[in-house]
Amino acid sequence: MKLTHSKKDWIRRIRQKDKKVVQELYEAHYKPCSAIILRDGGTVEDAREVFQEALFSLLVKAQNPDFSIRSNLKGYLYRTCFNIWVKMKREQRKYESTDKVLNDLPDQDGIPEKQEQEERYLLLNDCIKKASPACQKLLELSYYTDMIDEKIAEAMNYTKLFVRNKRRRCMKALRACMGVVK
């Protein structure tokens, strides 16, 4: 299924946090990306995780006001999926890296190199993944779901005051992880 909007529209919708566009990206690009993982002995869960990471990388890039995509979104996602999968396998110590597939893909996908903000977003994402499950859930409820503290307290079995303080501590931990300690 092809993206129903032009590239400019797509970028605009990403910046506006339009959820539908993410679904469209899945429908257009998940299958070739997942093929890399599934044919290499990965599971469907692995493929979903890898694709989520690859999408995240793309969405982060799109936040940059100077971002424009000239061509080959498919190539970018494909290559990103491969890199993420290789990294995952290396971390699991099951895999010798082969770059031969990377070598078959064009070096230039028409997508600019990483900007400073993008680097920070990716680092922040890594730090979030390293945070405790409680912090991850609390921050998600606070900043994505946008629940009020009373509801968060109810959902996590905390007091409202505890939610505020816990959130503050989680954010400090993230700051420390980012290398900026105050």
């Binding site: 990206l25 998940y30 900043y143 994505y144």
Partner: protein
């Protein structure tokens, strides 16, 4: 311990929930306080990251509910898209094609090769192979008769030996060369056949001369002496009095046939 900043305001700023007046006020503060700006920026980034992650997580969950990940998984090996019947039809078509091509090659080589086009027989040449069995005692005449007898018995090697003994001084020499050319031809010695046929072409009688030319022509075709062959062929085909004019024209036609392209 009291916090340095009002983190409620920072969070509301990061989420875009400050009203106009509050926003203007907050912006002024961050302009004057670098540390506050850094905190606000950091919270803004965290909110942004969670929103992006959340969008992906929601889309993933929606698609999972719709069974997208079950259908999207590629099969480990590519299966042949052709159904068994289609494969069978393809196999039959391929076999028939191969047979047709092979037949075409066979036909063209049996009918249009140089060997096929340049075949000679005694009857075609009008060679008199009737051996009376009588010998005159005169060496050349007897040799000629023995040569004829050998040709009649299809002993072409023996025939060659007999005809080679007849020297140019003998009046039967050119005729002997014609028969010798024929004997060489039948032994597939086309170069020798051409040489002997050439020696027979000065014959005084038209019949011997024309037969020798025909043997020469066919020999030249067999040994691929193209220029000489084409010159002689054109000559014979243009000569209305030549006994082999029709045969020459037919040979010309066959040489120009598209079937020749399949000859190897």
């Amino acid at each position: 311990m009291e916090e340095k900043y009002n983190y409620d305001d920072i969070e509301r700023f990061a989420k875009g929930k400050l009203d106009e007046e509050e926003l203007a006020d907050f912006k002024q503060k961050i302009q004057q306080d670098q540390e506050l700006k850094e905190e606000a920026d950091f919270y803004g980034e965290v909110v942004d990251v969670f929103r992006l992650k959340g969008m992906i997580k929601d889309a993933d969950a929606e698609l999972d509910k719709a069974g997208f990940f079950n259908t999207a998984a590629p099969s480990p090996t590519k299966s042949n898209p052709l159904k068994p019947l289609g494969r069978r039809i393809l196999a039959y078509a391929a076999t028939i094609s191969i047979l047709l091509i092979a037949t075409a090659f066979l036909y063209s080589n049996l009918t249009y090769s140089n060997a096929a086009l340049a075949s000679l027989d005694a009857a075609e040449l009008g060679l008199d192979l009737d051996d009376t069995g009588m010998r005159s005692g005169e060496a050349a005449a007897d040799a000629f008769a023995d040569g004829i007898a050998s040709l009649s018995a299809a002993d072409y090697a023996a025939a060659s030996r007999f005809f080679e003994t007849i020297t140019p001084e003998n009046e039967a020499y050119t005729q002997a060369q014609l028969y010798l050319a024929f004997a060489h031809y039948k032994q597939n010695n086309y170069a020798d056949a051409a040489e002997s046929a050439q020696k027979a072409t000065p014959a005084l009688d038209a019949a011997t001369r024309q037969k020798a030319e025909w043997v020469l022509l066919n020999s030249l075709l067999r040994i691929n002496r193209v220029n000489e062959f084409q010159e002689l062929l054109a000559q014979i085909a243009a000569n209305n009095d030549h006994r082999y004019q029709e045969a020459a024209k037919e040979l010309e036609q066959n040489l120009n046939s598209p079937w020749r392209s399949l000859v190897f």
